[in-house]
Structures are given as structure tokens and as C-alpha cells.
């Protein structure tokens, strides 16, 4: 069965510094979700391999995004527990989905394996993805910046964009954040240079594969398109009845 449009699964571990990524993602989801979307967030200990696997099967989301530590062949979940590895049984679970792994190095081998398994799109990093921990998670622009750029992909998908548009907007967000630290208001921050370097690295190692025109979350009006004449006839009929009733009362 095809993955369900407008359906999203986010795995959001919190330990081992992953809260720096997932708390930003959580806020962005809250700010950008649309009423027509079915969204499940597995947070903290719920972001474990068994629960993620079970939810992938029951929810059948078209978009699956997660933050985790990883390497060339592998990605993990909460407490760096192994979740998916090249050649294992979890890779085929990505078939028919748009998959974003905010995880180091998976673009080298795991990403291509996910695409070979039939994913609609894959977004990840070829080398180490860096972030700043000079402040508490999600408290300053400095700690949020790398993830505001990386999770722009999800923001755009939630807004109904195609994966190609989402990728373009994500790269533009990287530029926006870079400009902020190099020549914008952030340039006087003590670690502005390092923040810009981190963003520059993360942008350069970002990798994407898939069909750009895929639109995981089509607008509700598109979904109603087939029924539109009946909806209009129904609404028109109701309005006519109300006018008739009103006129009759006056007479």
C-alpha cells in the first residue's frame, strides 16, 4: 500500500545532545502544521527502534524525519540505540517515503541504500554535521541556527511544497543563517565565525536524492477537487432554502 499523503512521522530523541536538534524541530512543527495533516512525534524514550518501526507500519507516513547520531552505514535513535543499517530489515521500511536523516555521514552509504529500497526522496549529510552547544538547547539563535536551516525542509513540506521546492528553500535558509553570522546582526557574537563555519560545513555536506516534483502534503483544496461540484451544489441548495424560508416568514 502506498504511504499516506499528509501524514508525517518525526522521531525526536532528546539524549546525547540530540535535544539541540529535536527541540527546534518540535517548535517548527507546532508553528507550521496544517489542520489537514496527520502528524505523530515520537519524543525522548518514545523515539526507540521498536516504537518507530511499529508507527511506520501503523501510520504509514509519506514523510519520515529523525535526528540521530550516525555514520556512513548506520543511524541510531534515543541513547544511540541502533535503528537502521545498510543491509538490515529496516531499510526497506523507507520504501515510498520521503526520508530525512539529520545524522552524520549517512549520505555516503545508508542514503543510497534507502533510495535503492524505493524511497521517494532522501535528505542527509555526507560527512559530520556540526552544531553549537555554547548555550542550553533551544535558548538562543546560536544553538538553534544549524537546525533552523536543516529543518527548513520540513517547514516547507508542512506548508505543502514539493520536495524539490523544500530542498531549494532549505539551501536558501542556510544562506540566510550564514549571512546573519557573517554580516548581519549576529556578526558581533563571540563565536560568530565558528557558527558561520559550522553552517558552511553543514550546507556543503548536505545531500539530496529523489524526484523533485513529489508533493507529500497537497493542499486540502486539491484533495476536495473531485467532490467540488457536489459541495457547491449542496452549499447552493442550503443558501437557497434559507432565503426561501426567510422570504416565506416575511410574507
Amino acid at each position: 500500500m502506498s504511504a499516506l499523503a499528509n501524514t508525517f512521522l518525526f522521531a525526536e530523541p532528546l539524549q546525547h545532545y540530540l535535544e539541540y536538534s529535536t527541540k527546534v524541530l518540535h517548535d517548527l512543527i507546532a508553528a507550521n502544521r496544517q489542520g489537514s495533516q496527520n502528524i505523530v512525534e515520537l519524543i525522548g524514550t518514545d523515539a526507540n527502534p521498536a516504537k518507530v518501526k511499529e508507527t511506520l507500519a501503523s501510520l504509514n507516513p509519506i514523510v519520515f524525519s529523525m535526528a540521530a547520531h550516525g555514520n556512513y552505514t548506520t543511524t541510531t535513535l534515543e541513547c544511540t540505540e541502533l535503528f537502521m543499517q545498510v543491509g538490515d530489515a529496516n531499510v526497506p521500511l523507507m520504501k515510498g517515503r520521503v526520508v530525512h536523516l539529520n545524522s552524520c555521514q549517512t549520505g555516503a552509504e545508508l542514503g543510497p541504500a534507502i533510495m535503492s529500497a524505493g524511497a521517494l526522496a532522501y535528505l542527509g549529510s555526507n560527512e559530520s554535521f556540526w552544531f553549537y552547544v555554547g548555550d542550553e538547547a533551544n535558548t538562543t539563535r546560536a544553538v538553534r541556527s544549524p537546525f533552523l536551516a536543516e529543518w527548513q525542509f520540513e517547514v516547507s513540506l508542512l506548508k505543502g511544497k514539493t520536495v524539490g521546492e523544500a530542498r531549494t528553500e532549505m539551501l536558501a535558509k542556510y544562506e540566510e543563517e550564514l549571512t546573519y553570522w557573517i554580516e548581519g546582526e549576529g556578526k558581533t557574537h563571540n563565536d560568530a565565525g565558528e557558527l558561520a563555519r559550522i553552517l558552511s560545513i553543514n550546507k556543503a555536506i548536505s545531500t539530496f536524492a529523489g524526484t523533485p516534483g513529489t508533493k507529500p502534503s497537497p493542499a486540502p483544496t486539491v484533495l476536495l477537487a473531485g467532490n467540488t461540484p457536489w459541495v457547491l451544489i449542496g452549499v447552493g441548495g442550503l443558501v437557497a432554502y434559507l432565503i426561501y424560508r426567510e422570504l416565506k416568514r416575511k410574507i
Binding site: 546525547h16 545532545y17 540530540l18 539541540y20 536538534s21 535526528a67 540521530a68 547520531h69 550516525g70 555514520n71 548506520t74 541510531t76 544511540t80 539529520n102 545524522s103 552524520c104 555521514q105 549529510s125 560527512e127 559530520s128 554535521f129 556540526w130 552544531f131 553549537y132 552547544v133 555554547g134 550564514l178 553570522w181 557573517i182 554580516e183 556578526k187 558581533t188 557574537h189 563571540n190 563565536d191 560568530a192 565565525g193 565558528e194 558561520a196 563555519r197 559550522i198 558552511s200 560545513i201 556543503a204
Partner: protein, 134 residues
């Protein structure tokens, strides 16, 4: 690029970047501040540095560029609290995710580890970006 544009370029950069070596001319490294001063004085060196800015070139050989990159990273990271954890990578290279202080990052860069190489490789891109600020 007029003197005004060089002035605008210099003033758009952050304070830390203004005093970090960026260009090499005749074996001498110049920071944006030194470049700005030479251009404003209208010195022959200023003219040459201005041309390098216009062309977006550091004015170095590959070997000089590598030295310049390491010197820049060393200079910027050495100014920070050496032991304060500042950076994390989402990798499982070690059993536990590793947190890097400026001192640890400098060690990686100096030893030429994959982490260090990643920062060195990026620095050239980053320097181009600084040159392109307008």
C-alpha cells in the same frame, strides 16, 4: 571596486573577521583591517590588495593557502576558552558522541584527522565567502 566599496566590505565584516589574516601579497599576510588601511592610504600595496579583492583571490600558492588556513583556524580558536565545550557532531565515530572544545578541535586540525580535514577544507570556502561580501 572603489574605495567606498572596500570601506563597505570592511565595515560589513564582524569584529573577529576584521583582524584575521585573509590575503597574502609578496609573502606577507594581510587582515581585512590592514587591507582597508592600505587601500584608504592609496598605497601601491593597497592597489594590489584591492585588485585581489575584486578578483576574489587570496593571492596565495596552494602551499601558502594551506598555511593561511591553518593559521586562521589557530588564531580564531586560540582566542576562546580552550576547555569550554562548544561543538558537537552528530556522528558515532566514538562510542559516545564527542563534544569538542576549541583546544580539542585545534588538536584535530593540527593532527589532520578526518574532523580536522573537514574544517580545513571548509575554511577555503569560508574565506571565499568573506571575499564576496559586498
Amino acid at each position: 571596486m572603489s574605495k567606498d566599496l572596500v570601506s563597505r566590505w570592511f565595515n560589513k565584516l564582524g569584529p573577529a573577521e576584521q583582524d584575521l589574516a585573509l590575503l597574502i601579497l609578496n609573502g606577507m599576510a594581510y587582515t581585512p583591517r590592514q587591507t582597508y588601511d592600505e587601500v584608504m592610504r592609496g598605497s601601491p600595496i593597497g592597489d594590489q590588495l584591492q585588485r585581489m579583492l575584486e578578483m576574489g583571490k587570496f593571492g596565495t600558492t596552494y602551499a601558502e593557502e594551506q598555511d593561511l588556513i591553518k593559521s586562521r583556524l589557530n588564531q580564531t580558536l586560540s582566542k576562546k576558552d580552550p576547555d569550554k565545550p562548544l561543538f558537537v557532531a552528530l556522528s558515532t565515530i566514538s562510542v559516545q558522541p564527542k563534544v569538542f572544545s576549541p583546544a580539542q578541535l585545534l588538536q584535530e586540525i593540527s593532527a589532520g584527522t578526518p574532523i580536522g580535514q573537514q574544517w580545513i577544507k571548509n575554511e577555503a570556502d569560508y574565506m571565499h565567502r568573506i571575499l564576496q561580501v559586498r
